[in-house]
Symmetry: C2
Subunit: 258 residues, 2 copies
């Protein structure tokens, strides 16, 4: 959505193209060299920060709507996307009344009586993880700002999005024990220290150095390469890469790393 | 919903009380003495079996709607309820067109033009686990039948409910590694063999006998009682019970048993 005309049409006639009463919100985590960040946006005409999200087109599957939203903000397509929780509470109607009124004013409409956006909304939460250094953040006509924040220095978020972030982190951390992770977050060839650091950063705790790498090797997800990296006089650790076929299969089926 | 008049009002005016476009479906698992079952229902006027479910009242939180549905079918209140996935797909509209037409006919209405039930529906899946021997199954005006089926002998289900059951089982099994389980599924005092059998049955695989019990004891969730059960000449295993305070806390916060 790029023009004022499209924005006005979305507000007036969006229900013809989108399912009312239900939205998605995306917690997009960004990892790079032991830093974990979260993507936040500011909606047009609204002061506070919140998660990016939107409505679901009547022709879309849920995950397609999430993928579209993530791509629109980051430029990255086909990220690993997982649902973490769906949020529904009669109180959620209050948030919308406030915000969408500002939107109606923004496009010069006096009354929101009967407008499709004035509904109690249930929101499906998805999380994604990517390498934040590879993203190109983009705003549009509904999004005033878009930025990465360190996970340990988040501002207070609008609506129930603080709770969403906490639930997204919790589910992402549970999933680390059941799904492989790291593709597109590590270099093509990496050391065991680098993948260990990825797990420590995502879990936000110290781990036994052999913990995850050992399990990944045992499951055939990590391949030891006939190649070393020289990082000092007497230090040249072996390099590893993912077995992409096994990785994709494990992603589909889930597995118990524990 | 018990009377024909209430049923007709639900079909004609349900949108005043329930949120359109979104439903819940519940995979209610039943455990008892190494058997795992699933609760299935037949909707009024519809032949096949499916998961119990329904719509969300405008005054309810999502989990309250799930709890109400589970209670209506099983008579059991406040079960451990967890979301497993939300299902949204443009194809889901087809299911509804077919079934709800039968419902309209059943209450003697000719046309469903503009009816609130004729919508693409997104459904939030919850799972619950209980002791099936403690439940009292109940039908109502929308539910023709209600029965427990062995998890390994399920009939082919209506709609996308086969996929839902598969996803519910998968998520339930992942959760076994992160949340405590067993309260209301085991006797008040139980042996380590009994809780071991519970885990083996739910995971559908053989486990090292000390695997889960050892972790539960280490986390303080299991208390060894000063009491034994006599089960034979030379066999009198110690009895255990849950530390309910720690159990509730672990349920809230989640923990890594692995």
């Amino acid at each position: 959505m790029q023009t004022e005309a499209e924005f006005k049409d979305f507000i007036l006639n969006g229900h013809l193209h989108y399912i009312p009463h239900i939205s998605i919100d995306c917690a997009i985590f960004g990892y790079h060299e032991q830093q974990l960040k979260l993507l936040l946006i500011k909606h047009r005409n609204i002061d506070g920060w919140c998660l990016p999200g939107g409505y679901i087109k009547r022709t879309e599957k849920l995950v397609e709507a999430a993928n579209r939203n993530v791509k629109e903000r980051t430029g990255v397509d086909n990220l690993f996307l997982q649902q973490f929780k769906t949020f529904g509470d009669p109180d959620r109607i209050q948030f919308n009344k406030f915000d969408e009124k500002k939107w109606l004013e923004a496009v010069g409409i006096d009354s929101w009586e009967g407008n499709w956006l004035f509904n109690q909304t249930i929101s499906v939460g998805f999380y994604a993880i990517t390498d934040f250094s590879e993203t190109v953040l983009q705003t549009d006509i509904t999004t005033a700002e878009c930025a990465w924040f360190d996970i340990n220095a988040l501002p207070k978020l609008e609506y129930d999005h603080d709770e969403m972030v906490s639930d997204a982190l919790h589910t992402m951390r549970v999933h680390l024990y059941h799904y492989p992770i790291g593709l597109n977050m590590l270099p093509e060839k990496f050391t065991l220290s680098e993948i260990h650091a990825l797990y420590e950063t995502l879990l936000d705790k110290k781990l036994d150095i052999s913990n995850f790498p050992k399990k990944l090797i045992a499951l055939g997800l990590l391949k030891k390469l006939d190649e070393k990296r020289s990082i000092g006089a007497h230090r040249s650790p072996h390099l590893y890469s993912f077995d992409k076929e096994k990785y994709e299969l494990a992603l589909k089926e889930g597995l118990v790393l524990s």
